[in-house]
Structures are given as C-alpha cells and as structure tokens.
C-alpha cells in the first residue's frame, strides 16, 4: 500500500506556489466554450414562458397561434401547466417554444394564450404577523439548553421560561434586538441551461452544471433511459454558487424536444428567469434577547427566528443560531413561512451567512451597549466557541486587527464624530465551515514517452480546479504544470462528486494525489531496477527520478517512463467521502473586519477597507485561493449593500429581475480588500480543505456591525440600502 502524503513545505516545488491558472489564457481570450457558447449544427433555439402571477390556477393554455408562427418548430407544454394545476410562484415555466431562431421563438411565445385564475399571494417574509394571519407559517423547530435542569415535578416549558427570565435578570448587560437578512438570488452570469442532442438513441448534453458526474443519471431517470445512454459535458461554467446541481425540468424539456424533433436544442433561461426561478437564498429574521456578564461574555440567548425559503416551505435552520459563539443557556425557536416565491437553492455556505448576520450583530450591539471595543467583546466570547477553534480565532483576530489598524481606527459606537455628513465605523465577524473532501475518482495515464494525462468527472466552477489538479500531478512527478494534461468536465470520466459545500479541492486532491502516488510507486520500482538502488530511496524532482542520497544517480522522467515498455501505465484511485486521510481534512475558522463610511444625509454606505483572514489547511495555489476569498468578500459586499429581490405584494411578481434593476456591487464599490491566508504549520499539516464557502459567510455581519459602529444605531435588516439607513435614522 502506498503511503499517501504531501511533501513538506520546503520540499514543495509546485504546491504552494502562486502559479497562473492553466486555463487563464483560454478564458481571457474568449476561446473557452461555455454551455451557452456551444452551437450545434442545425440547432433549434428554445425559449420559455413563465407564469405571470405569483399564485394561480391554470384555466386554459392555447398554443395553436404560437405553433403557426413562421420558424416555430415545436411547442412543449409542461405537465404542471395543464388546466386546473396550481402554480405557486411567478416565473415558473409553463411553455417552451423551439424555433429556427431566438427571434422566431420569442415571437411564437408571445402568441401563447394563457388564462389563469388568480389566487391569494403572500411574499412578505419579514412580516411574521401577516404571515400568521395568512396561515402561511409552520413550526421550524428549535432547541433549548440550560445549565440547570428542571426537577422531576417541573413542567419543562415553564421551567425554561422562568430560567431564561432569571438568567436575563441576573445579567449585567441585556441586549434586545431585531435583525434580518433578505433573500438574494444566485444570479449566475451564465444562466441555467443546456444544448442537447440525441445521437443514435443516446443523449449528448452540454449542461451548465456543478455536477457533471451526477446529472447523467438525473437525465436518464427523467427521460426513461439507462444512464449509459447519457453523457454530460461541461468544460466551463459561468457561475453556479450552489444552484446548478441538476438538469432541472427545463433541461429535461430540452432533451425531450430534441428527441421529438430530431434536432439539437439550445435552451438557456433568460436573465429574468434566471433571477426568478433558478436559485435564491432563504431570508432570515430574528428577535433576540441576550444577557451577558460584566466581561461581556454572553450567558443566555433567547431568540425567535423566521423567514422563508419559498413556496415549498423551509427557512434558515435554527441549528446554527447563535452562530459559532453559543452560550451554555439558550432557547431558539424557528418559524418557517410559505411565500409565493421560487424555492430556494443552496447558496455558498447554506444557513451560515444568515445565521452570522442574525446573531453576531446582536453580539456587536452588546459591545455598543457596554461602550466597549467590539474586538474585546468578540475576544471575550471565544470561550463560547463551539468548534474548538478559539485559539485559531484569537490568532486570526490579531492578524486581522493589525492589517486593519483596528486599534488606531476604533471609536465607540456612534462616537466617531462626523466630517460633514460622513461618519465611519469598524465591524467584525467570524465564521466556520467544514469543507471536507467529496468523493472522487481519477484515472491517470503515464505514457512511455513521459506524457501524463488524467481523467476525472469533476468540474471547475472558477476556483481553479484544473490548475490544482495539474499542480498535484506535477508536484508528485517532479514536473512542471504544463507537462501534465488534466481532463475534467465530462460524465464519461471517472465519477467525482458535485462541487458544493467547498468539497471539490479536497476531492480532486485526494483522487489525483493518490493516483499519481500509485503510479509513481510503479515507476520507482522500474527505475530502481535500472539504477540498481532501493526504490524507497528514490524521489521525483526537477524532471528526474533520482536517488535521494546520491542525486547523481538519476534518470530523466522520459527515460524512466520508457521503462514502462509499450503500454501506458494506468492507475485509478478513488476517495470515499468521510474517510480519514492525511491529504485532506475539514473544519476551518476565519475572521473578517470591515471599515465603512456612511453618509448620514443620504444613507449611502461606502466600503473603505475589508480584511479577511482565512485558514484552509494546506494551500495548493495561493493565487487562486486568494481570488476565491476576494470573490467571497465582494459577493458579501453586494449582499450587504445592494442585492434585493423586490416583489410586488399583490401579484408576487419579482419586479427588479433584470441586471439594471437587481443591483450588484460594481468595481468601484469594493474599496480596499486585504486577504491573508492563515497557514501556519499546524494548519498545513492537516491537508487541504475547501474555502469556497467560509469567506462568504462573515461579510454581511461585519459590514452591518461597521455601519452600526459608524451610526451608533443598528440598521436591522440587510441589505443596508439608503432607504433602510434613512428609515433607521428617522426612527432613532
């Protein structure tokens, strides 16, 4: 058995180096082909009609006029769009028109006659009372922990009630607050969609997906064929963020239309459809009472939270409240609200960003109430850290504070003084995530001429998966990253898990390192015989296989590979999720700090500086790793300040579902961002851990806290738009 491991830091020549991503040039020159860019000969263009109302019953649907528009080839009506069926969110696709051009398809679509019976619409997830009145609420679970236990004769609920009240009463400081964070959309720049073609009874599907290895089976199931008849391709994907794990019913429709018409079909959602139905993150709102001792350590937490994950129920899980820093006594109760909005999908670190924004804001308000430095209050509360990372947080806080120059910039909440109408403030937050490796298999071929190529059914969301795989192979064989060829993005390749939950880097490092180390053992055996040394003294460095003790004894990589004879060496390695391994690990921390300016007259907030300190075990490529963190922070700035899904209360229509109206951060909005990779030896030896999710968690809470520090009042609900800032100032 090969002993799998990583080389030590000073022995690494490729791993840990800031290398350019291997597909950087092909992307930046526009040559990379995304699903949207795949044009197949004779393809049809499909477009879809979405339901115009947030809640209705289909009365009738007449497609005859659409079918007779010149250029229209096929009209597909979804089963859920048949008469008498109820539609529960606006935008739900009802009809697809496939035509010779997109223009003809759209014209056909405009001729579809739809009659609906409008039913009651509810979209105001923030308004718990209204939701209760409308009968839209259900229990979302909860949990109680108290140090003191009820006696045998006590009624448990009564006991808890009394105990919480007692603890609050005995607290030196009590904060009562209301906080919230609205739903946002994934808003992938490449919308969901596919270009598909049936060939001899098999389906070739180009699908914009985070799940190459899993979607072939999903296609097969819905199309009633076996999975060997389906191949899914995705060389490049224009954003997923947790929303692209399935072909979706529109992908299935594309395949059905293609089968029906015998022609390739391209079916990408329109921009408004992408925003309306293809992914959003649940909202969360919370009323909190917390009590702390004289040092500001929270002793008791009591919260009622609610929110909506859309028409199919669900909300932010109570299980992550309060976030990371959990006192010994707490009661948390959650309610879910059924809104007439599209069902939510996983969004970078499901539940965590909301939980962080719903609870570390309250912790910051405690600092405000105490007149204390938020840094000190967070520091004091590390005793409540539930993930055994208090020491890591402490160090990361020190690093972040230094990079932010926190001590010099700090002023008590609302006490910074104004220059004109401008005030500034500091805020921080911290987070945690798993990020353990997903399952992954890799087929590796080493050719007798020295060529190296790998095949793995994973995908690159933009985090640099190809680059990381290349680095791992190159490091193992003592080669450069351009000496190896990595193939990903096809379901024909060995199975690899979906890219979600920061599980990809662990997965592909496991499979590629294992396959490469297995191959190297065999090459070492051959080389050892040739060099007449023991195989265990050999190492692969600088394009050579050499004797560690006598480097002059060596073979070039090509010469060593030629010993394979006529056939390439093939190894396949698989990693089973959850298997303890020296190569990968899970569980990270992370601390972030924000410095903002607020214009008190307009409520406009500007980012001055943002600091993110992040651990992720062993860093394979610091450059792409940092990019991932920059991106998470910038997405966080967008969610904290700009992103709003605005629905018309009467119709449930998502009124701002275009990029001109659904505001995202622009290049000029981000301020200075400083990213620090936290990789002491104690972290590095843990192996690789994904970092896609963790840095996306804290920005909203950190920015909200900075705004609270600037203004001296809390703007309760995120995003912190000028309207909300002014409304909060008017109320104060």
């Amino acid at each position: 058995m090969t002993e799998y491991n990583w080389p030590k830091r000073d022995a690494s020549t490729v791993i840990g180096k800031e290398l350019d991503r291997v597909d950087g040039l092909v992307k930046a020159t526009g040559a990379a082909k995304y699903t949207y860019d795949i044009n197949l000969k004779n393809q049809l263009y499909a477009v879809a009609l979405g339901c115009p109302h947030g809640h209705c019953k289909i009365k009738s649907l007449d497609i005859s006029a659409a079918s007779s528009v010149p250029g229209v080839v096929h009209v597909h009506v979804f089963d859920h769009a048949q008469p008498d069926r109820e539609i529960e969110w606006e935008g739900e696709l009802l009809v697809v028109v496939a035509a010779e051009s997109e223009g003809a398809a759209r014209e056909g679509l405009s001729k579809v006659k739809l009659e609906v019976e409008k039913l009651d619409v509810f979209t105001s997830a923030e308004d718990l009372q209204a939701a209760e009145k409308a009968g839209r609420t259900s229990k979302g679970g909860g949990k109680v922990e108290t140090v003191n236990e009820p006696g045998d004769d006590d009624d448990e609920e009564e006991f808890v009630e009394k105990e919480i009240e007692r603890l609050l009463k005995e607290s030196k400081y009590v904060v009562e607050g209301y906080y919230g964070i609205d739903a946002i959309t994934h808003c992938c720049l490449e919308p969901h969609g596919s270009t598909v073609e049936w060939k001899d009874g098999t389906l070739e599907a180009h699908l914009s997906t985070q799940n190459v290895s899993g979607t072939d089976e999903q296609f097969a199931r819905d199309l009633k064929v076996t999975a060997d008849n389906v191949t899914v391709h995705c060389d490049y994907i224009g954003g997923g963020f947790g929303s692209k794990f399935a072909p979706d019913y529109w992908g299935i429709a594309a395949a059905q239309i293609s089968r029906e018409t015998g022609r390739p079909v391209k079916f990408m959602l329109s921009r408004d459809q992408e925003l309306k139905i293809a992914g959003n993150r649940p909202s969360g709102y919370i009323k909190v009472r917390l009590g702390a001792d004289e040092k500001g350590v929270v002793q008791v937490w009591d919260s009622v939270s609610w929110g909506s994950a859309g028409a199919q129920g669900g909300a932010v899980s109570h299980s992550v409240l309060p976030y990371v820093l959990v006192p010994k006594n707490y009661r948390r109760v959650a309610t879910t609200i059924k809104c007439n909005t599209a069902p939510s999908r996983a969004w970078r670190a499901p539940n965590h960003p909301q939980a962080c924004a719903m609870s570390q804001t309250a912790l910051d308000d405690l600092a405000g109430k105490m007149g204390a430095d938020s840094y000190d209050v967070f520091l004091a509360n590390l005793v409540n850290a539930t993930n055994e990372k208090a020491d890591v947080y402490r160090e990361q806080m020190q690093i972040a504070a230094k990079l932010m120059d926190w001590k010099a910039k700090w002023h008590a909440h609302g006490k910074g003084g104004a220059r004109g109408s401008i005030v500034d403030g500091l805020g921080m937050a911290l987070h945690t995530w798993g990020g353990g490796a997903n399952e992954s298999s890799c087929l590796l071929k080493v050719y007798p001429d020295g060529g190296v190529t790998s095949f793995c059914g994973t995908q690159d969301l933009g985090s640099g998966t190809r680059t990381v795989c290349s680095q791992v192979l190159a490091e193992t064989f003592g080669l450069g990253i351009n000496d190896v060829r990595v193939n990903i993005g096809s379901s024909r390749y060995p199975n690899s898990g979906a890219s979600g939950g920061s599980t990809t880097i662990g997965a592909v490092c496991e499979s590629h390192r294992r396959a490469a180390q297995d191959a190297l053992v065999k090459i070492f055996d051959l080389a050892a015989a040739e060099l007449k040394v023991a195989a265990d003294t050999l190492e692969a460095v600088g394009g050579k296989i050499r004797d560690r003790n006598n480097p002059a004894k060596n073979l070039t990589w090509q010469k060593a590979c030629s010993l394979l004879g006529l056939k390439p060496l093939e190894t396949t390695a698989s990693y089973v999720r959850g298997t303890p391994s020296p190569l990968s690990n899970s569980g990270v921390a992370g601390v972030q700090m924000a410095h903002v300016e607020v214009d008190r007259e307009t409520g406009v907030i500007r980012m001055k500086k943002f600091v993110a300190v992040q651990d992720q075990g062993l860093v394979i490529n610091p450059k792409t790793c940092k990019s991932q963190i920059y991106g998470a922070v910038i997405m966080g700035i967008a969610a904290a300040l700009f992103e709003e899904r605005i629905t018309d209360p009467a119709t449930g229509v998502f009124v701002n579902a275009e990029l001109a109206d659904y505001r995202l951060a622009r290049l000029g909005d981000i301020g200075e961002i400083v990213v620090e990779l936290y990789e002491p030896e104690s972290e590095r030896i843990r192996g690789v851990i994904g970092n896609g999710e963790p840095p996306a968690i804290s920005p909203k809470a950190a920015i909200s806290n900075a705004v609270a520090n600037a203004l001296g009042i809390r703007v309760p609900v995120i995003p912190l738009t000028p309207k909300r800032v002014l409304d909060a100032l008017a109320k104060a």
Binding site: E190, I634, G668
Partner: protein, 202 residues
C-alpha cells in the same frame, strides 16, 4: 403654482391626441407606411424587411452574414461566426458582458442591431488573443482577474478601451472608470491589479 410650469399632458399645448383625432380610426388598421413614405420608396431611403445578406467588418476582415432587422450584432457574432467571446448576460447591456469595440469605442453588442453595424469596424475579444496576446489579457492571467470567466472577455475589452483612452490612469481613476461591467464571482480586486499593472508596463 409650480405645477403650471411642470406640465401635465392635458395642459400641454403640444398634444398627441389632437393629432390622433384628426387621423381617424381607419389609421389604426393601416399599414405602417404612410402614403408619403410609399411614394418615396423608389427614390427615398431603403426599407429593409425580412432576411438580408450583409457584410460586416469584424476583426479586420469582411464577413458575409444573413440578418433580419431584429438580429442583434451579438446574435451574429455568436451564432453565425462562432465568435462566442462576447456573452449574452443581460438583455439591455447593463452587465457589459457583450462589450466589443465599434470604431474603437466600447459598446454592448447585445443592444446593437446588426444592420446598424454595417460599414463600421467591429473588434471582438478574439482579436486581442492569438500568439502574442494583448497586455491586458496577459495581466488578467497573471493577476488571476477571472474566476468562472464568463464576464472576463467583456471586462478585458472594457479595460482595453479604458486604457486606450487613459494610458496613464491612476488606481483611483481605474476604480471610477470601469463600472459598466458586472462580475458575479467577485474578480474586481484582481481586475484593478491587472489594469494597474498594464499602466505600469509590469
């Protein structure tokens, strides 16, 4: 009263309805051509209907393409010429992902009807690649100014256009001048670095 100066429709002396009343109900069913326009057909401006063959000057060479009046330049690039670097992200150009250069100036191909581009020099991202890629492209690679990469070609063109006009731009000017494009992955910080590096010739 301010309102007398802030005109409402009915108080306007310049009213559409008066004219409509005169034009009569029959006009509603009439063809779009006015009689005058029909009379002008032979000598006046050409009216284009249905599919047309046109030639577009793209990346230095003429390309024959077939378009309808409603065909956008972006459609032509992507569907007829397989120049898929410019991306369809927003219907109204607000993402900047379809940015190309038209006679040297940045414009979004998604909001340009192909017929209006006849006789103009169109330059797409593909023209900046090749064996010796544009310094902006090289800087994007070096500074990792891309993640998923879908917005990247549009951003590269935008940076190219911006630096053509402001070759000595400061970082502050770069932050102010590149707000016509959207990136969802959050590559802005790297793009700033890349643009600064191009200015410095690094």
């Amino acid at each position: 009263m301010t309102d007398s100066r802030n005109k409402t429709g009915s108080s306007s002396g310049f009213n559409r309805r008066d004219f409509l009343r005169g034009s009569g109900a029959a006009a509603a069913a009439a063809a779009v051509q006015t009689q005058a326009a029909q009379a002008m057909q032979d000598s006046g401006p050409a009216i284009v209907r249905g599919s047309q063959k046109i030639a577009l000057n793209i990346n230095g060479s003429q390309h024959d393409v077939t378009v309808e009046p409603r065909t956008t330049l972006l459609d032509v690039l992507r569907h007829q010429l397989d120049l898929t670097g410019a991306k369809p992200v927003s219907a109204d150009g607000s993402s900047g992902a379809s940015t190309v250069l038209i006679d040297g100036k940045p414009a979004t191909a998604s909001t340009i009807l192909a017929l209006t581009a006849v006789g103009k020099k169109i330059q797409t991202i593909e023209s900046l690649g090749g064996d010796n890629p544009d310094p902006v492209i090289q800087a994007f690679v070096k500074h990792d100014a891309q993640q998923c990469g879908f917005c990247t070609p549009g951003f590269v063109i935008a940076v190219r256009a911006f630096l053509n006009k402001n070759p000595n731009a400061t970082e502050a000017q770069i932050r102010e001048g590149l707000n016509g494009n959207i990136c969802r992955c959050g590559t802005y910080a790297n793009i700033v670095q890349a643009a600064v590096a191009v200015v410095k010739g690094a």
